[in-house]
Structures are given as structure tokens and as C-alpha cells.
Subunit: 189 residues, 2 copies
């Protein structure tokens, strides 16, 4: 059942494979605030699903405990608004699983769009992608933790959004800030 204002945009936050500052492939730890902050932004803008992708069992357990606290534990009654935000969060092991879930749910493979702090080929503009979503196209937008998505993840994408530039040469937004800005550029009025 759709919620009021729900769109056809889903997002995934990838914890493996990502790169470190030496461009080596690593897995990163899940952080509490990445889940909360991005869920709150996602729910504000009508995101369909917010996937948290990690293949590590201990990290999966942490995420499940956090979600249970807010879904049925003390958090659910203490802060119903937070429960509502976290209701769109879904834990998965990999990007491939998010694609499979959305394909099953929507009857066709979603358009997968990567985000990056550097320019890539196959770029799609913010307004062009926003238009596709408003027209009902299923889109899965992917964000990397640490120093960004591994090349093998970006290769799975159908397109890449241009990096966010703020008029300076400083290029170190947090993934929480980048996700908020990108979602607003796509869906904000």
C-alpha cells in the first residue's frame, strides 16, 4: 500500500564494496546516524525504500537491533515519527539484492543511478532524472560510504549523477549531507 506522497525513487547506502582514501576496496561499518538522518530525509521526500547494504553478519545484527527498537520496542512509542521514517528502511546484503527486490516488486528492473564525488561517463542531469521519477519510472539511487562506491558497483549502474559542486574546490560532503542535497534536487519543489 502506498503512503501519502510516495514516489518511485528508492535509495541504497552501500557499505561493501566501497573504497578507502587510497582507492583500495574495503567494507565500512554501519553508523547509527547514517540510518536515522537519511531515513528522515527519505521519508520527507516520499522515498519508496531505503536499503542498507552490508554483507557482514555482525553489522546486519546491529541494524536489525536498531530497527526492532524503533519498530516494536521502546522507540516506537517514545517517538512515532522516527518509527515512521525507519519503516521504509530495509536491510540487505548487497546492491544486487536491492535490484532483485525492486524488480520483483515492480515487475521490471529499476533504473540504477550511481552518485559520485567525481565526474563519470554516462551522466544524467538532476532535472532529467527528477522528471523520469515524476513520470513514474522506478529508480534506484546508490550512495557509497567511506570514500565512495567501488568501480564494480558503479559499473552496475545505468547512469551517474554529476558530483555536487558548491562553488569552491572543497569536495568533502558527508554522505548524509550529499544524500539530502541530491534527494532535494530530484524531488524538492
Amino acid at each position: 500500500m502506498k503512503y501519502q506522497g510516495e514516489t518511485t525513487l528508492s535509495i541504497a547506502l552501500i557499505h561493501h564494496p566501497v573504497v578507502n582514501k587510497r582507492a583500495e576496496i574495503i567494507g565500512s561499518a554501519v553508523t547509527n546516524l547514517d540510518i536515522h538522518d537519511i531515513a528522515r530525509t527519505a521519508r520527507t521526500y516520499g522515498i519508496l525504500q531505503y536499503f542498507i547494504a552490508t554483507p557482514y553478519e555482525d553489522q546486519q545484527q546491529l541494524v536489525n537491533e536498531l530497527l526492532a527498537h524503533w519498530e516494536t520496542g521502546h522507540g516506537a512509542t517514545y517517538n512515532p515519527a522516527r518509527r515512521e521514517a525507519l519503516s521504509i528502511v530495509r536491510l540487505i546484503d548487497s546492491l544486487e539484492s536491492a535490484i532483485a527486490i525492486l524488480t520483483e516488486k515492480c515487475g521490471k528492473k529499476p533504473m540504477v543511478v550511481a552518485t559520485s564525488a567525481t565526474f563519470r561517463e554516462t551522466t544524467i542531469g538532476y532535472s532529467e532524472l527528477g522528471k523520469k521519477i515524476r513520470e513514474g519510472e522506478q529508480v534506484l539511487l546508490i550512495f557509497g560510504t567511506a570514500h565512495g562506491l567501488a568501480p564494480e558497483v558503479i559499473q552496475l549502474a545505468d547512469a551517474t549523477l554529476p558530483p555536487i559542486k558548491g562553488g569552491t574546490e572543497y569536495n568533502h560532503l558527508s554522505v548524509r549531507s550529499a544524500a539530502s542535497i541530491i534527494i532535494d534536487r530530484l524531488l524538492g519543489s
Copy 2:
């Protein structure tokens, strides 16, 4: 001395007086991530100064220790990009101090603009305010922690930006996300 891309927009994150969910006046605790995340966004977009306002001495000490770690301690060599972001942060006791510092620095009082999750009178649009900044007007944009700025702070403002709406009735962005989105709307290209 100006840095490359520096604008005439400053921001202040207010920890007192703000309101809790029952609209009572409170003071909130400074959080590490509010300083880091918002500083990174601010530096990306050429913000002149990012003021952290708290009247509490223990909280001021925490902020000073954090800034010292990144300015001259281990953090400064471990992550120079973070040092650069935090170099625009300035600890103050109140909004009035931020106004006084900018008035001294710029030779006239800045235009003070409040942000809020609810509509207020004296609203100014994002594009209109962005234009003023690009034309060189000194603007101080203020954000509230907890459940938002106290009425007495909003009364100090010359104007208020409209709340961020995402197409749903859900209205619970983190201040970190709200600051990123608002700064992008004002200064993003």
C-alpha cells in the same frame, strides 16, 4: 583574507534558547556530528563563518577541545580536509554575539534570516535570498537544534525562509539535513 569561493553567507547553529517538543524553552547539548557535518557542507559552499552558539561553559569546553584537536592536534595532520572545514567554525555564547562579530567585520549589521519547520510571517524566498548573497549582501542564516528556534530568537530575524517540504506530510528533517538542503538551495548551481 578570503578563501577561493568564499561568499557573504554565514550561518549560526543555536543551542539556546530553543524549544522542546512541548514548545518549552530549553538549552540543548552540542553534538559532534552537527559541528562536523554542517562544517563540511558550509566549507563546500563557501560559507564565511559557521557559528556554534551555546551559553554553557561545559559545552563551550567540549567545542574548544574538538576544534583544538582538528586545528593543531592529531586531527590536523591526519585529515587536513577536516581541518579546513572546521577552520570556519567559531564558538560564541549567543546569536547576539554572532551579529556583533559580523557587524564589526563587515562595517554594517548583517541581514539575519531564520529557518523554521513551520511557515512564519516575513518570509523571503530561496531564490530571492540567494540573489542577495550573490550581490554581496552579508547574511546570517540561523538554525535551531532540538525542536527549533525559540520565538525570541526568531523575533531577532529580519526574515524567515519557508520550511522545506518534500511532497509528504512528514516534517522531521535533522538539522544537519535541513542545513545542507537550504545551503544548496541558496548557493548551489
